[in-house]
Symmetry: C2
Subunit: 797 residues, 2 copies
């Protein structure tokens, strides 16, 4: 059931609001963004608002000897100076994480990473607050920092988390999945075994908007309003209730417009808690906004995986087994509300898109003297690393077999008749049809022609590479217990209310950081209930206005909340049909739904519109027996499975042999995310993810020196791609609907971020094949490529 055609839903015509439903439609939210009228957290201005600034540790590992705040307190405009010791008196110096440990709000005993929060100042304005930070006198006793995850495991390494009574070393956890013995048996008997050490370096999501919050605690009614840059307002609310002791019904978390999330805005940062404390203690609203450097050195890192990949195959290219060993660097803390409770969870799909006999993974996670890591940066927790590993090691196998990497993949794909397909690690892929997706990408690329061109160029000494990555994503957390990161389930609520005049409001538990929810969800409702998208208000991001749900991450909005929206609309439609049957005086069975009206079967002149029905539903009497007034419904939707989008990416690079500069010349991305609601928005998501991939593959890495100083504290040091570094993306789509999603949709928000780095690295390595290169680690900067060309492996970290 794969097709390159759009699914047969009503097409939405931009020029006419009447036809409703799926299709290319300009984003409803864009007018405010395009006119500079977005409303971000830093736009929140409240009467009497104060400003908060955070003093951060200059050392990666040091004992705090003393803190003197007297000069800061005397500084002009300063209202409040708070240290860890002061928080400790109130039991707020540490906050529990979801990983059964704790994270410091403000350091008390020692600092554990450079940039850690030590104290904060609240003052009349941002300048006064920042100036006063300079006046806080902290005496440190510097300790040996642990910067390398391998050092963390060595005997004699400094114990970083001496605050935890149950930790005698720097282990966070050990975890395994798959069948070790069965895998070893396959490996022992295989024709070919390839082993490669592969590093996914520490990167930062670097959203355009940094993190921040405005806390406004009303001492009269005891209510906290918190505007914050969060991807998960409801989860944050529940956690604030548990952590801070403010009752849940007295907390309103508002995520206004958010300038990008990418996982960076899932955790609860100490700054949010500081803003709350600041507002409680001053009785005034308090704003905290990071600057760029604070965001880069202290919030929401991802990756930092040292992996050994092993693959066993027959001589003719049948993959038999995959085995991997991972050392994960979690930094000094597991982030509060960060999805690191089952940190290895999604790494379980490391067997990729291939039908193999056995698989085994062992993972060890450690604390180091780095900022907290492990955010779900466009990766559905770790699937980015897993896909990178498998797609890299499969290419290494192709290298060893001297086999075309496309051919190798096509030979090993899970076949359409095998779905639902259970992997050797226990994940059940809902649907997939991989070969047509791969073939479409190859057709779009002109794969054979590219290989011919490459051969010609190689003959001339030019460095051209063609890289392929094929991925299966697992998105839509989700029903699995090991994904229940909050212990709060993974269901999403959704409410739909039709007003008397037939306009609608839909309330989502998920919210948007730029993904276009206000459009996509209006289209879902429009498709189901026949009200034009312009007549549908999409409300999200305010816990006072929306039902409970876990938030927006892991590409779960469409798979979970999208399903909830479709199903709640069907509930409303079912009720509308009952009312229509009374209005038209026919039985429910005698009515056909005609996208916006119910029509009497065989008598097309007799019909009522959904708007007529809405007015009737709000009128007195004349409703069928047992039908309540109003036209609305609510749902709490817990999906029966994840959705598993897939995609085939082909990257063409040219490398300047003189400068070793990699240029991505072409990038063909064929995504299959099931039914597509708004292809334009999906393409935008893919374009963004591919750009992410260029950054990670070629430019981005948060590095530390041996003292634990972060070397990526500005966008001058931490390079992110711009329009100059990316090609014109060539996108294509196949459609394999999810069988368990009511409209067959899968998530697509992270696919390109997951799939593009291996495609680019595979292309670069392919370009370097004349030099005998089988692997090189990201980021493939000119110096690393230069080294690789000369047979020198750059130390991975």
């Amino acid at each position: 059931m794969t097709t390159v055609q759009e699914p047969k839903f009503t097409n939405f015509d931009d020029n006419d609001q009447k036809p409703v439903g799926f299709g290319r439609m300009l984003r409803k939210e864009d007018p405010r963004f395009l006119r500079g009228r977005g409303r971000y957290t830093d736009d929140v201005q409240l009467p009497g608002m104060l400003h908060l600034a955070i003093l951060r540790a200059p050392f990666a590992h040091a004992r705090i000897v003393s803190v003197d705040t007297s000069a800061a307190e005397a500084s002009p405009g300063v209202k409040l100076v708070v240290t860890g010791a002061m928080l400790a008196e109130k039991g707020l110096a540490w906050m529990p994480t979801l990983s059964n440990d704790v994270q410091a709000v403000l350091a008390t005993d020692k600092v554990r990473f450079q940039g850690q929060e030590v104290a904060f100042v609240v003052a009349d304005d941002r300048y006064a607050a920042r100036d006063a930070l300079e006046l806080i006198d902290v005496e440190y006793d510097v300790l040996e920092p642990v910067v390398d995850a391998r050092r963390a495991l060595e005997a004699g390494a400094p114990l970083i988390r001496d605050d935890l009574t149950d930790k005698a070393d720097n282990h966070v956890f050990d975890w395994e999945t798959g069948d070790e013995a069965a895998t070893e048996a396959v490996f022992a008997n295989a024709d070919v075994v390839v082993v490669e050490d592969i590093v996914y370096p520490r990167v930062h999501p670097a959203p355009m908007e940094t993190c921040g919050a405005v806390a406004d605690f009303d001492s009269i009614d005891g209510k906290l309003r918190l505007w914050s840059t969060t991807q998960a307002p409801h989860a944050h609310r529940t956690l604030y209730a548990i952590v801070a002791g403010i009752p849940e019904h007295k907390i309103q978390v508002i995520a206004p417009d958010i300038g990008g999330g990418f996982g960076n805005k899932v955790p609860i940062y100490p700054g949010y808690v500081c803003a709350i404390v600041g507002s409680i203690l001053t009785g005034k609203p308090v704003k905290w906004m990071e600057d760029r450097s604070e965001n880069l050195i202290s919030t929401g890192f991802a990756r930092d995986y040292i992996m050994r990949g092993e693959i066993a195959a027959t001589r003719d290219g049948k993959i038999l087994a995959i085995r991997t060993n991972v050392l994960a660097d979690h930094g000094a803390f597991n982030g509060t509300a960060a999805p690191v409770k089952y940190p290895a969870g999604f790494f379980g799909v490391f067997t990729g898109s291939y039908d193999i006999e056995a698989a085994y993974c062992k993972m060890t996670a450690v604390y180091t003297n780095k900022a907290p890591g492990g955010v779900a940066y466009a990766c559905s927790f770790r699937i980015t690393e897993a896909v990178y590993l498998v797609e890299r090691i499969v290419d290494c196998l192709a290298h060893e077999l001297d086999m075309d990497p496309a051919e190798l993949r096509l030979k090993n794909f899970i076949q359409p008749e095998q779905f639902p397909y259970e992997t050797k690690t226990g994940w059940v892929y809902d649907s997939g049809d991989y070969e047509p997706t791969m073939r479409l990408a190859m057709d779009m690329a002109g794969y054979a022609d590219l290989r011919r061109e490459q051969a010609e160029k190689r003959a001339r000494g030019e460095l051209m590479g063609i890289g392929i990555a094929f991925f299966t994503e697992a998105v839509g957390a989700g029903p699995r217990k090991d994904m229940d990161i909050l212990g709060l389930g993974m269901a999403d609520g959704c409410e739909l209310r039709i007003h008397p005049t037939g306009k609608a409001v839909v309330r989502l538990s998920v919210q948007t950081q730029g993904q276009g929810h206000e459009t996509t969800f209006a289209q879902i409702i429009a498709e189901e209930i026949g009200i034009p998208p312009a007549d549908i208000e999409v409300v999200h991001g305010d816990t006072d206005q929306t039902p409970f749900g876990l938030g927006t991450y892991g590409s779960r909005s469409t798979p979970v909340s999208g399903a909830a929206a479709a199903l709640v609309a069907r509930k409303v439609r079912d009720k509308a049909q009952l009312i229509a049957s009374a209005m038209l005086e026919v039985s429910v069975a005698d009515l056909d739904w005609a996208k916006g009206s119910f029509v009497v079967k065989g008598d097309p002149g007799k019909s009522v519109t959904i708007q007529d029905i809405a007015m009737r539903a709000h009128g007195a009497g004349d409703l069928p027996d047992g039908v309540e007034g109003g036209l609305e419904a609510q749902i709490c939707y817990n999906p029966s499975n994840l959705t598993y989008p897939h995609g085939a990416y082909i990257c063409v690079v040219d490398i300047d042999p003189g400068t070793a500069q990699v240029k991505v010349r072409r990038f063909i991305a064929v995504d299959d995310c099931g039914a597509r609601i708004n292809p334009m928005i999906i393409e935008g998501q893919v374009h963004g993810g591919l750009t992410d991939g260029v950054g990670m593959a070629l430019m981005e890495m948060i590095a530390f020196d041996e003292d634990g100083n972060c070397l990526g504290a500005s966008l001058m040091d931490y390079l992110i791609p711009t329009a100059l570094e990316v090609p014109d993306w060539e996108t294509g789509f196949t459609v394999t609907p999810s069988p368990h999603h009511p409209i067959g949709a899968k998530g697509v928000g992270e696919s390109a971020t997951v799939g593009s780095p291996p495609a680019i690295v595979n292309a670069v390595v392919d370009a370097l094949k004349p030099f005998g290169v089988r692997h090189a680690d990201m980021p493939l900067t000119p110096s690393r490529v230069w080294d690789a060309m000369r047979g020198q492996a750059t130390p991975p970290i």
Copy 2:
């Protein structure tokens, strides 16, 4: 089933939040009011907000010859001057009412009452706006004003509403109820017939806060936010959508804290529409707040009924029939959104608490050159007038029969076994047990002793009066078609959501103007779901946050929304029970509900609290099959009948024979409003209504001179009672639950306003019995009493 005991609900102890439910509990909303932290419309401050002032007509009836705004436009700080002609260009000069006619927003052709809106100015501040009003030059051609409703019906009277093509005279409507012929037959054969002309003068609710609005129209997303002093935010929203063409989903009406409503804040006033127009045209937020004089001369009048009451009885005091003829003065317009579509509706219960053979009422309503009248000022649309009429005419009958008025009433009460009782005008009283209520009031008053005291004083020439009024109220609009004032039904929505930590939020369609909803509804939910009231947030007054419903008037909050709240809580409890059965691994039938937890029958050690269940409901998995996650429900409740509270009031007055000053010495009020949720709040409602009654009976009347000038334009002229004019109220209660309300409650918000004026007037007339006085019209000011003592009837209007 009448008792003076509290119903057997869990008692709520002020000092302990653990026991939950009904009982005396301090009001949850009071901390913000007592500390001056209420948030009223005039407290709304928005960046860049402008201020609006309205130019009002100096004449009651005049043609507009010309309007020159040039000087006003040039005045400092003025941003905008708008006239009726400008609105007419946009089709906004008139707004439809719910009475099938229209109301002027700004006058175009002529002004029809003194104080009518003629133009408005928007300026930087309130002072600049008011100053500029003086510079608008309006030329008028003055016409004959119609001030007396009787003049309106005369041939040759000026045609007031010449804008209406279907009106050739000043009739608004003619209406009748009951059986005219059957009533005439009874009257023709009765032993005794008493006829009296009785006037209920025009009064004003005079809430402490005047009316106003802040309109904020966002041109980017097309959304209108309107803070306004409204008792019916949802109904207003729908009407703005219909009237102004702004789509309903793009309108948010917020009723913040409201400083008293009393029906005055049900209509849509031209000022609200002006503020909206002002915001749209300036692109800025616009605030409009009335001053006291504007409120008194132009908004929300009530009563103004000229009534002839006739009663037929046997010589021994059995009442046989009641007949009445009413002339109702509606002023120049029917107010938009004012419940005057079926203006005579509740007057239908004019037969009171008596079991009679026949009844007939004829009513005529007319336009006059007065401000729009007919608001539901604590009267459930007209029941105040009806009760006053019947209780006055019954006293006249007692006077004629020389019978004790208590005895006469006791002889004629509908008996408990007759309920549900259908009146001769087709109203079905749900429940009642009148005699115990009457007896309790008489006991509390020491009625026999009072009569003895009166006799002694009369013998000494002192003027002491004892007045009785017994009323049956009809509240909780409601299921009757003739009460569907908006054509939008009379149902109330309610939503209850339990958060993961077991705290709750309940969202009401009704809101509060001081009635204590935040407490009462928390208690209802607490009683049903076992969560302490302190853990329940009550949300109301914001159309973006609450389900649709018609608003707060006619004492309908507890009868309709209170029922909705109880039933939605039971829905949630039913779901909780399913989850509890899974948690405790027993069948649903094996669980007992123990006010906050489910306990296994016969094994009291095995139980789960509602808080445990809430967390489970938000956790992954482990819910029974078919049970959605979350713990919440919604309802749209349409009651099957009204509720009919009743009450017996006894008033004792002393009149100074030298000054004719009336002093209310004692007032005994026994109310029966069914089950009582918070007796303290109920007593507060009764105290307020009794004070209203003192005002209407003794002090208040909006009078007009022959030119149509309003003589009550300030609180120096329109006297309202203060603590100095009222006695210490003596309240008592009986409890006759409503059989169709889930907790047996009836509305009580207006009972005392309805019942106290006849009790006071009856007392004054009783005091004047030595002078042969049988009737005197309100307000019984010293001059009127003086005249009555001298046998001179003051002209009623």
